[in-house]
C-alpha cells in the first residue's frame, strides 16, 4: 500500500503514458463535476410542467386513483424529467436538463437524449435498492464468483484427494452442477425445495417488509449461482493445480513438507496465476447468466431492458444496455489482468 501511494505522488518518475491517462481521467472528472453543478435542480425541472399538467398533478393529490407519473432521473451531468398520464389516451411531457437549461424532449434529438438518460437510469437501478438492475447483476456476479472460487478450491482438492469417498462425492457434485442448466437449478432451489421441505424463502424476512419476496428470491439466486459457479471453478482450480510440474511435488517432499504444506505453500500460490484467466471467463459468463433471475421475479439489466421494450415499444433501449454491459466487462477484465500481472512475478 505504502509503495503504491509513494508511486502515485512521485510524479517525476511516472511513465509518460500513465501520466497522460491520469491527466485525461482527471480532466474528465473535473468537467463532470462542473457540469453536475450546472445542471438544473430537481425543483426547476418539476416546475417545467405545463399548466394543464400541474392541474392534473394537483387533482391527483386529493384522489385515490393516481393518474400522473412524475419521473425525475438524474445522471451525473444531465437530468431528465417527464410527466405522463396513464390510460388509453396518453399525455406526456418530457424535459432534459443540461448546463443550466431545461430543453423540451418530445421529439428529435431531445427525445433520444431523454430516452437514453431514462433507460440508463432504470437499468443501472438508480433510485432502487441492491435488488435492481446493474447493482443486482454486479452484486450477484461478484458474490457468486467469490463463493464459487472458495467452494471450487475445496471441491478441486477433494476431487484430487486420495480419499475415495471424498473424491467420488466431489466428482459427483461437479458432474451434477455442470451437467444441468443453471435455469433449472434456479427453479429447483426457488420452487421445488420449499415445496418439498415446507418453507418459504420470503419467511427469512419479516412479513411486514414489502420487499420480502424479492429478498427471499435473491437469497435463493445467490445460493443457486454460488453452487453452480463452484462446480465450474472446481474444474478450473483442478486443471491449474495439475498443470504444476510433478517436480515441485517431489522437491517439496524431499524438503520434508507434508501434503497440506506442499499444497498451501508451493502448489496453490503458483497455480493462482493460471486460474485467473479462466476465472475471469467464468465471471463474464456469470455476468450474462445473471439475466436468468427474471424467472424468479428479479429484475436485472436484461430483464429491465426487455420490460422497457414492451411498455414503451422502443427498440433503442438495447443500446444503453450493451454499453453498460461492455463497461462492466471492460472494468473487470482490467482488474483480472492486474491480478494476473501481480501473480506472474513467480514465472
Amino acid at each position: 500500500m505504502k509503495s503504491f501511494l509513494k508511486g502515485l505522488f512521485d510524479i517525476k518518475n511516472w511513465k509518460k503514458r500513465t501520466m497522460i491517462t491520469w491527466v485525461v481521467v482527471l480532466i474528465i472528472i473535473a468537467v463532470c463535476i462542473v457540469l453536475s453543478f450546472l445542471k438544473p435542480s430537481e425543483a426547476d425541472m418539476k416546475a417545467m410542467a405545463s399548466p394543464e399538467m400541474q392541474e392534473m398533478i394537483k387533482a391527483d393529490e386529493s384522489s385515490s386513483r393516481k393518474r400522473v407519473t412524475v419521473t425525475y432521473n438524474s445522471l451525473i451531468i444531465v437530468n431528465y424529467c417527464s410527466f405522463s398520464t396513464s390510460g388509453a389516451k396518453e399525455i406526456t411531457e418530457k424535459y432534459v436538463g443540461f448546463v443550466g437549461k431545461a430543453f423540451q424532449a418530445d421529439e428529435g434529438f431531445g427525445k433520444f437524449a431523454g430516452q437514453m438518460v431514462n433507460y440508463t437510469y432504470r437499468m443501472l437501478g438508480c433510485g432502487e435498492n441492491i435488488l435492481h438492475g446493474a447493482k443486482l447483476t454486479l452484486f450477484l456476479t461478484t458474490a457468486s464468483t467469490l463463493i464459487g472460487v472458495v467452494l471450487g478450491t475445496l471441491l478441486a482438492l477433494g476431487k484430487i484427494s486420495k480419499n475415495k469417498v471424498l473424491s467420488k462425492f466431489c466428482s459427483g457434485y461437479i458432474f451434477f452442477f455442470r451437467g444441468t442448466p443453471l435455469m433449472i437449478q434456479l427453479f429447483v432451489i426457488y420452487y421445488t425445495l420449499p415445496a418439498v421441505f415446507g418453507f418459504a424463502w420470503r419467511d427469512l424476512f419479516s412479513a411486514a417488509d414489502n420487499q420480502a419476496v424479492y429478498k427471499g428470491a435473491f437469497i435463493a439466486a445467490l445460493i443457486a449461482y454460488g453452487l453452480n459457479s463452484g462446480a465450474y471453478c472446481a474444474e478450473i482450480v483442478r486443471a491449474a493445480i495439475q498443470s504444476i510440474e510433478k517436480g515441485q511435488h517431489e522437491a517439496a517432499k524431499a524438503l520434508g513438507l507434508s501434503y497440506g504444506q506442499t499444497m498451501r505453500l508451493i502448489i496453490i500460490p503458483q497455480s493462482v496465476r493460471r486460474m485467473v484467466p479462466p476465472v475471469c471467463n467464468e465471471f463474464i459468463m456469470m455476468l450474462k447468466d445473471a439475466s436468468l433471475v427474471f424467472a424468479i421475479s428479479l429484475m436485472d439489466i436484461t430483464t429491465i431492458s426487455k420490460n422497457i421494450m414492451t411498455s414503451e415499444i422502443s427498440y433503442i433501449v438495447f443500446l444503453p444496455a450493451l454499453v453498460i454491459y461492455l463497461i462492466i466487462t471492460a472494468f473487470f477484465t482490467w482488474i483480472f489482468n492486474a491480478i494476473e500481472k501481480k501473480f506472474s512475478l513467480y514465472e
Binding site: K66, N73, T92, C126, E128, V213, T310, I339
Partner: protein
C-alpha cells in the same frame, strides 16, 4: 507480503471505482426512500379515503376472518409487463394499469394497503399463499385452473380478436378465414391454444408464429412478416387506441367470452368473499366501467 498489499490496493481501487460506477448510488438510496415514502403516503391517503367512505357508506367490511400474509396489507402477485393490464410507469418502479387500478380499489374498499409483487408468469400461481395472497394479472378463469384455485367474480370479459395492418382489405368473418395466412400469437396464451388447435386438427392451413412478447407480434405485422395477429380483444383495444392508423380490427369472436378473475387459494374462502364484495360494489357504482373506458378507450 508486498505483493499481497499490492493486490489489496488494486482491489481497493476496484471497490472505489465500483462506487463511482454505481455513480448515482447515494441519490439512488435517497430516491428509493422517497418513493417508499410516496407510496406510503399514497396508501395512507387511500386509507384515509377508505375510512371516510366507510363512514359514509356505513358498509365497511368485517375482515376478522380473512387471513392475510401480513397484517393490514393485501399482497398481490402480478406479472408487470403486459400493457395495458399491468406495466411499469416511466419511472420504472410504479406499477400502473387496469389490473392495478382494480386491485388497488378492492384493497381500498376493504381498508387494506396494497403491495404489488412483480413476478414472472411461469410459476405465478405457485406463489399464492407462499409469496402473496392473490394473483391479479389478467388471469383467464378456466375449468382447469378452478380445480386448484378459487377465482373471484370476473371483472372483465375478453374475446379473441384478429388484427390486420391498416389498409388490408381481407374480410375475416370467422377463424376459418385465416386459411392460408401467417398468424402471430403470444406463446402459451389462449390465442396460441386456439389457433394451434385449428391448425393441428387440419381445419385450416395456417402458419403460426409464437412470440415471447405480444409487442413482437405487432412489430412483425408492421414489418409484413406476418399477415395477422390473433390476440385478446382487450390487449388489442389498448394497442389500437394508441396506434389508430396502424392497425384495424378484422374480427372479434363474440361467441366465446373469456373472463378474467382474481385468483386465490382454494382454502381462502373468507378472502374470496371479501374480494367479491368489493368487486360487486365497484360494479354497482360504475367504477369498473369507468376504469375500463380509461384504459381501453373504446367508448367514442
Amino acid at each position: 507480503m508486498k505483493r499481497l498489499t499490492r493486490v489489496i490496493s488494486i482491489l481497493g481501487v476496484a471497490a472505489l471505482s465500483l462506487g463511482v460506477l454505481a455513480g448515482c448510488g447515494k441519490s439512488a438510496s435517497d430516491g428509493a426512500a422517497e418513493s417508499d415514502t410516496s407510496t406510503a403516503a399514497v396508501s395512507e391517503a387511500q386509507a384515509d379515503d377508505a375510512a371516510n367512505e366507510a363512514v359514509a357508506d356505513a358498509a365497511s367490511y368485517d375482515l376478522s376472518n380473512v387471513k392475510l400474509m401480513s397484517e393490514g396489507k393485501l399482497s398481490v402477485g402480478c406479472e408487470v409487463g403486459y400493457p395495458p393490464f399491468e406495466d411499469f410507469a416511466e419511472d420504472g418502479t410504479t406499477p400502473i394499469g387496469y389490473d392495478v387500478d382494480i386491485i388497488t380499489e378492492v384493497a381500498r374498499r376493504l381498508g387494506l394497503e396494497v403491495n404489488i409483487i412483480n413476478t414472472a408468469w411461469d410459476g405465478i400461481f405457485a406463489g399464492i399463499d407462499n409469496n402473496y395472497d392473490l394473483v391479479c394479472s389478467a388471469c383467464t378463469i378456466t375449468a382447469e385452473r378452478q380445480e386448484s384455485m378459487a377465482f373471484s367474480t370476473p371483472y372483465i370479459a375478453n374475446y379473441q380478436a384478429v388484427i390486420l395492418k391498416a389498409g388490408d382489405t381481407k374480410e375475416i368473418k370467422s377463424f376459418n378465414d385465416l386459411d392460408g395466412m401467417t398468424v402471430a400469437v403470444q406463446k402459451e396464451t389462449t390465442s396460441d391454444e386456439l389457433i394451434s388447435d385449428y391448425k393441428s386438427t387440419g381445419t385450416i392451413d395456417v402458419e403460426v408464429v409464437a412470440n415471447e412478447k405480444i409487442l413482437s407480434c405487432f412489430t412483425q405485422l408492421d414489418n409484413g412478416e406476418v399477415d395477422a395477429v390473433l390476440v385478446d380483444s382487450t390487449v388489442a383495444d389498448g394497442y389500437l387506441a394508441k396506434n389508430p392508423d396502424k392497425y384495424i380490427y378484422a374480427y372479434k369472436d363474440e361467441t366465446e367470452a373469456e373472463e378474467f378473475g382474481i385468483a386465490m387459494g382454494l382454502q381462502n374462502t373468507a378472502l374470496k368473499e371479501a374480494v367479491d364484495w368489493a368487486l360487486a360494489g365497484m360494479e354497482a357504482d360504475g367504477y369498473i366501467a369507468e376504469t375500463y373506458d380509461y384504459w381501453f378507450g373504446v367508448t367514442e
